[in-house]
């Protein structure tokens, strides 16, 4: 017997046609599933009434899987087969993961993405995430009494193409139809923005378990646009636990711990941290497996003091994102707090002081992302009226471009362009008679390809032979609403085409993205200089190539002196081409061009004469 929900006026669904859609926050520490019911977004709970599903999967010896709360205990008893924070491995290669030596898993390097060896065999992060998503799907289907039409799954704004693709694959593997991948801060803004329907610039301050993301969003006429994103991937609530843990080690004077004791002490630290959010003082008490005892008391003031540097660290990406968006703190109309760690009073105070106003905390920071995703899913599944529809714009975290001659990166779609986006640019051939072109898609802010991240390569073949610069190849970059990139190249006269969907073998780590952004700003001047140099080098190469060809074809047009003068200039240019002096290079190019002007004119005459030879005026 289906149970009914109250619909908006005029919105009653035809029987069996109500489309069940959910929003899923697939988190590093915890995951949630939410839906819109009776017009309100709510998180769906399990049989015990718990909304959070700890993102922990335990592969049991002898078969079977425990998940969520049931798997928590196994973190201590069977760390190797109990996978926590699998999100950090999504779409990553072994080289992308820092401190593998301190992680208790057995990693296997595979092309594209690492795998984890468990007692139940080798598991990819996609499979492990799918196990979590499957539980959420089953919970949703049991709660909603039917099969799901689709789901919106959230990802960090910083996730690159590989990580998004991995997330999408995991959802598909779990039997979910992904309506859209949605950036977490955008989802949080949806949850707040729509409820409060207030326009303006907002900052989303998302301090999760292990990562910190700051996004600047603009809400106008019901349209959400992400103006800028920034963050720190090595900063989260766990670091606050770790500070307390270190403090306890120091103050309790205990010897180095076993793996189990370290984990126990860390869990105790977390409990103390949570208690300090609501009380002024917390006991830190624990009996270790070694027989030693920790018996301390932590005051809120002491905790604030020891974690002050961490709080200060959160403000760095805040400042950077504001600078990227060209805004100052006073332009921000509201701050949305996301992530359990934002419950800490001193975080809220630091944010309030920085922006000069109290942050928004009236929605549960652990749930706000899932709630926003549910609202988006509801809209995408078609359960809202057309005229209520709203657009959702996201941005590209790093510029996307192509490698051009000389190892330069030509940016086609610049950073912070709103999604979905398509941009096209025309390129041409470099050599006479060139029939193929190789494309190298790169991501990053730097001018030289070697400083950017390589995403993909493909080739366009079958270009009709033409003089250098005559072919017109239109390259289109398209990024869909999920942030997935496809690049196509088309030769305009013949229509030959080649394209690629970017599913890069490796993703960028968030650290790398943050680092690349920083470098892009720091090296801007140097980059411009090296760009100028490389452009001169390419120009010099082109000129040398043209001269060599001309001399071999029509060298007989020159007398001895002319030839030796030109050859001398060519030799001189070849000498300095590998150097670092852009202006000398530019002088050399100019000199050679001048010296060959007359030669070029004579060649032109000869080719005209050849063309007209033996033909009457009438024929022409």
């Amino acid at each position: 017997m289906a149970l009914l929900q109250i619909a908006e006026p005029g919105q009653s669904a035809v029987p069996h046609k109500h489309r069940l859609a959910v929003g899923i926050d697939l988190g590093t520490t915890n995951s949630l599933v939410a839906t819109v019911r009776n017009g309100i977004a709510v998180c769906l709970t399990d049989e015990q009434g718990r909304a959070l599903l700890p993102s922990v999967v335990h592969y049991r010896d002898g078969g079977g899987i425990s998940l969520g709360f049931d798997a928590l205990g196994a973190r201590v008893s069977d760390p190797r087969n109990t996978i926590v924070s699998v999100k950090r491995f999504m779409g990553r290669g072994l080289g992308d993961v820092a401190h593998t030596e301190s992680i208790p898993y057995i990693f296997e390097e595979m092309p594209g993405m690492l795998r984890l060896r468990t007692v139940q065999g080798s598991k990819s992060p996609v499979e492990i995430s799918a196990d979590l998503l499957r539980v959420l799907r089953q919970r949703a289907e049991a709660s909603l009494g039917g099969e799901l039409t689709g789901a919106v799954v959230t990802v960090p704004a910083y996730f690159d193409e590989a990580q998004r693709q991995a997330t999408r694959d995991a959802a598909r593997l779990a039997g979910l139809h992904v309506l859209r991948l949605l950036n977490e801060p955008t989802a949080a803004a949806v949850a707040y923005g729509l409820d409060n329907a207030s326009e303006g610039v907002y900052a989303v301050f998302d301090l999760g378990g292990g990562t910190f993301d700051l996004s600047i969003l603009k809400l106008t006429h019901g349209v959400f646009e992400v103006l800028a994103t920034n963050g720190d991937t090595a900063l989260g609530g766990d670091d606050f636990d770790h500070r307390l843990y270190c403090w306890a080690l120091d103050n309790a004077h205990i010897a180095p711990l076993s793996v189990e004791d370290a984990r126990r002490l860390l869990m105790a630290a977390r409990a103390v941290k949570e208690l300090l959010t609501i009380s002024e003082e917390a006991p830190f008490h624990l009996r270790l497996g070694s027989g030693e005892e920790v018996d301390l008391t932590v005051t809120r003031a002491a905790f604030f003091e020891m974690t002050r540097p961490l709080v200060q660290k959160t403000l760095i990406p805040v400042k950077r994102a504001l600078r990227d968006a060209g805004l100052s703190p006073k332009d921000v109309k509201g701050i949305v707090m996301v992530g359990g760690a934002t419950r800490m009073p001193h975080i809220q105070r630091a944010v309030a002081e920085f922006f000069g106003q109290e942050p928004l905390t009236n929605l549960d920071p652990d749930r706000v992302v899932a709630l926003g995703a549910a609202m988006q899913a509801n809209a995408l599944a078609g359960n809202r009226r057309e005229d209520e529809g709203w657009l959702l714009l996201d941005v590209i975290p790093l510029s996307l471009g192509l490698e051009t001659m000389g190892g330069l990166s030509e940016k086609i779609i610049t950073r912070n362009a709103t999604l979905p986006v398509a941009r096209a640019q025309e390129f041409t051939t470099f050599k006479d008679g060139q029939t193929a072109m190789s494309f190298h898609v790169v991501q990053g802010e730097r001018e030289l390809v070697s400083d950017c991240r390589s995403l993909a390569r493909f080739e366009l073949r079958g270009i009709p032979p033409m003089a250098a610069g005559a072919a017109r190849i239109r390259v289109t970059f398209q990024v869909d609403a999920d942030g997935l990139l496809s690049v196509s190249a088309r030769e305009t006269s013949t229509g030959v085409e080649a394209s690629i969907h970017v599913k890069p073998s490796y993703g960028l780590t968030d650290d790398e993205i943050a680092g690349m952004l920083r470098d892009g700003l720091e090296y801007a001047d140097g980059d411009l200089a090296s760009r100028a140099l490389r452009e001169q080098q390419v120009e010099a190469e082109r000129l040398l190539e043209a001269c060599a060809q001309a001399l071999s074809a029509d060298g007989d047009l020159l007398d001895e002196t002319e030839l030796s003068a030109i050859n001398a200039l060519i030799a001189r240019l070849r000498e300095i081409i590998g150097g670092h002096d852009a202006s000398a290079l530019s002088d050399g190019i100019a000199a050679l061009s001048r010296a060959t002007e007359d030669f070029a004119a004579r060649r032109m005459n000869r080719s005209l004469r050849d063309a007209f030879a033996g033909r009457s005026i009438d024929e022409l």
């Binding site: 017997m1 289906a2 149970l3 009914l4 929900q5 109250i6 619909a7 908006e8 006026p9 005029g10 919105q11 009653s12 035809v14 029987p15 069996h16 019911r37 009776n38 017009g39 309100i40 769906l44 709970t45 399990d46 049989e47 919970r139 049991a142 709660s143 909603l144 009494g145």
Partner: protein, 107 residues
């Protein structure tokens, strides 16, 4: 005769209207569709229309158009929980049969 809400249903409806931020009450109705001929309609009401019948049940306004009332007279609307699922359920004495899922019925 009329249509009534159980106390539990009334509480949930008031709560949903509060959360929604506006609303005059709840509209019950029938539509001629579905596998068994007719389907229930359950919607928020911002404004009652001409010819609507309005009942008060546990402090909640229940709005029904006259045509639907013929098929709904004597109905009790309940809010029930079945496993993880929860929602509204029509107990309609007029319904002679309903489809397996209960979303659709005939008289």
């Amino acid at each position: 005769m009329s249509v009534i809400l159980t106390e539990r249903a009334a509480q949930h409806i008031s709560h949903f209207i509060d959360k929604r931020g506006k609303g005059f009450g709840v509209r019950l109705g029938i539509k001629t569709s579905g596998c068994s001929g007719m389907a229930y309609k359950l919607e928020f009401v911002d404004q009652a229309l001409d010819g609507d019948l309005v009942f008060d049940s546990h402090g909640v306004k229940v709005v029904i158009d006259q045509k639907s009332h013929v098929y709904l007279d004597g109905t009790e609307l309940d809010y029930v929980r079945e496993g993880l699922n929860e929602g509204f359920k029509f107990n309609n004495p007029n319904a002679r049969s309903q489809c397996g899922c209960g979303e659709s019925f005939s008289v």
